[in-house]
Amino acid sequence: MSVAPTAIYLDHQATTPVDPRVLDAMLPWFSETFGNAHSEQHAWGRQAAEAVEFAREKVAALIGAQAREVVFTSGATESNNLAIKGAVRFALRHGRGKHVITAVSEHKCVLESCEALTEDGADVTVLPVDGEGFVDPGAVESAIREDTVLVSIMAVNNEIGVIQPLAEIGAICRENGVLLHTDAAQAAGKIELDVNAMNIDLLSISGHKMYAPKGIGALYVRRRPRARILAEISGGGQERGFRSGTLPVPLTVALGEAAAVAQVEMTGEGKRLAELRARMVARLREKLGAVTLNGSMDRRVPGNLNIGFAGVDAEALMAELPELAISTGSACTSASVEPSYVLKALDLSDAEAGSAVRIGFGRFTTLGEVDAAADMIVKAVKNQRSGNSVRAAE
């Protein structure tokens, strides 16, 4: 099995290709200049350690942090686990509270991390989102209690791309002495993030959502005022004790390079993606009439579209489009046949949620691909609606 050269990849919220510049930066660190970054007593190790620290600075710069506030992890899932379980378990251990606030549209790993904490005696409040997908900062404020430790609200939703009002939530958290964690896996490198301006204490980053490879991520951990967390993985005491384990040097170098590239190109790339998305929507509307756009179109990352086609089953639609990579929601749950819980949280009916697909545009998406993909979708939707669907034989 291989991917046909004609296949079009529009699933950039699931994962992104590795940018060739990122690949070039990481390659030498596999075998030419390999080393364990913790073996600082010999030249191989020192060289690896220098590369890691250089990468750390670049990641920090992307979010307005200091290098020593960046902890490398294996990815955003681990970062989210570490931030949430780490912060609340630290508080539980030291009698500093036991309550965590999150929202219904968060990524599974955030929700499951919170749920795991209930076994430790923590209380969890899960806030709703409005019809556009937003968390109400006022609701966050009302939910804060004496014993609230942490608020975890994502920066950008993985299914509908909406940008949460983090700065407002951050101000509320700071005022109330509560930590703010944000899952920025879909936001880092795509929108401006400033941990100081937004009063963010913990922030998760994923490499493979920003054109670096899979297997690398980061957690920002504020030093002043200090965000206290308990390590989830202990051992050699690497990453200042927050996260033990040999650092993957090539992957940290890759994340650093990806951050540097994104920082420079973010604004221009955002405009380009917004145009591609507008073109896709216009083309679909022109040929299909009414379509449903799920989630706010105003405050949303430009690379994301979540679109419903009335009367069409999204799974059947995708089955008809083997050469087009789109999705019906988060990749982590894409094997599931349940309608998306994120769309359900927007008050969509099962049928409405079941008719929606996520289309994710990315750095290497071309105008020609967008047009071709739109035409493929139009044809498949029409087939579905007329009952002429031909399930692709594979």
């Binding site: 913790h38 989830e232 993985i233 033990s244």
Partner: protein
């Protein structure tokens, strides 16, 4: 750049591994996505799972990919509410995973004290988890894992085995050993850093360390590190211990150790009485700290380590040598030399030369000091 004799810290990625990873890095796809890009990624992961299972002498359904050996060890130790019994020479990632662990003594060769284990198992009110490594990262000493398993079975205990240093160097069979959990790391066998595996008996109930997302049969959440896993699989396939590459390394080690003892009669070789990994030598030079030895060798372009890489920033004596009954001075004056399968005789000869000169300088300095006094 020089002579790299620190393969227990990390190994260079093998060319075939790099090639396989390049191909995987050129593919876009989340292995959990149902579309063609996703299924292609999934296939890479599945193939690697087979290869890693074969390396450990077991079946693919036991393999849970992790971000590395440390995570695998933490997952094993923290995944159960059972009390943990760990040997005193375990890696820090095992020793520190459970603050409430009972530490079991080893004898002077570094081998776990089986009578001590039996007493501890006997005294335990409930079935426990025993964690014992296959081979030690600092001394290379191989533990009697099968005996540990037999004992554990008598008392209904589970056994976890950290096989990170042994995999690819010694024949390894999870089935024959009978352990319930086994940890592996890719970058110790010519694979990439940032990927490892915990092998878990399928019926074992284990609380996942990283949650959220149904990956790895719900045992480890997070988007699969496809290129890393593909690299691990390739390295596992190449790490065929049957070819005897490491037996040749063992011969080089024997002749090196004989040479060191001949040149420097008071050199100490730790664990030499026990069965060891063929590539590892833990060498003591009385009167010269490990740090000083490592620095001197580094200036000569030779990389070795004082203890494990993880703790090499710290100036603490080796907990492994302590556990073997060595005092602070001895535990501070040892280095670890670890060969790779491609380490050449001429490189080892150069190491012997530099190390011997260092020992001789020490003798001269001691003499000078004595004559001044």
């Amino acid at each position: 750049m020089g002579i790299y004799l620190d393969h227990n810290a990390t190994t260079p990625v093998r060319p075939e591994v790099a090639e396989a990873m390049m191909a995987a890095l050129a593919q876009t796809g989340n292995a959990s996505s149902v579309h063609r890009f996703g299924r292609l990624a999934r296939r890479g992961v599945d193939d690697a799972r087979e290869a890693v299972a074969a390396l450990a002498g077991t079946t693919a359904d036991r393999v849970v990919f992790t971000s590395g050996g440390t995570e695998a060890n933490n997952s094993a130790l923290r995944g159960t509410e059972r009390r943990a019994f760990v040997s005193a020479v375990e890696h820090d990632s095992v020793l520190s995973a459970r603050a409430d662990a009972t530490v079991l003594p080893v004898d002077s060769t570094g081998s776990i004290d089986l009578d001590g284990l039996r007493d501890a198992l006997n005294a335990a009110s409930e079935p426990v988890l025993v964690s014992v490594m296959y081979a030690n990262n600092e001394t290379g000493v191989v533990q009697p894992v099968s005996e540990v398993v037999s004992l554990a079975r008598e008392f209904g205990a589970l056994v976890h085995c950290d096989a990170i240093q042994a995999a690819g160097k010694l024949p390894l069979s999870m089935e024959d050993l009978g352990v319930d959990l086994l940890s592996l790391s890719a970058h110790k066998i010519g694979g990439p850093q940032g990927v490892g595996a915990l092998l878990v008996r399928p019926d074992l109930d284990l609380d996942p360390l990283v949650r959220g997302g149904g990956q790895e049969r719900r045992r480890r959440a997070g988007t699969e590190n496809v290129p890393g896993i593909v690299g691990f699989g390739t390295a596992a396939r190449l790490a065929d211990v049957g070819t005897g590459q490491f037996a040749a390394v063992g011969e080089l080690r024997s002749s090196m150790e004989a040479q060191l003892l001949e040149n420097v009669p008071d050199a100490v070789l730790y664990g030499i009485e026990a069965e060891r990994l063929p590539n590892t030598s833990c060498i003591g030079l009385p009167g010269v700290t490990g740090e000083m030895q490592v620095m001197t060798l580094d200036l000569a372009g030779i990389a070795v380590s004082a203890g494990s890489a993880c703790s090499s920033g710290k100036v603490t004596p080796s907990h492994v040598l302590h556990a073997m009954g060595q005092d602070d001075d001895a535990a501070r004056s040892a280095i670890r030399v670890s060969f790779g399968r491609d380490t050449r005789k001429v490189e080892i000869e150069r190491f012997v030369e530099v190390w011997t000169q260092m020992a001789q300088r020490r003798n001269h300095e001691n003499q000078a000091r004595r004559s001044v006094a």
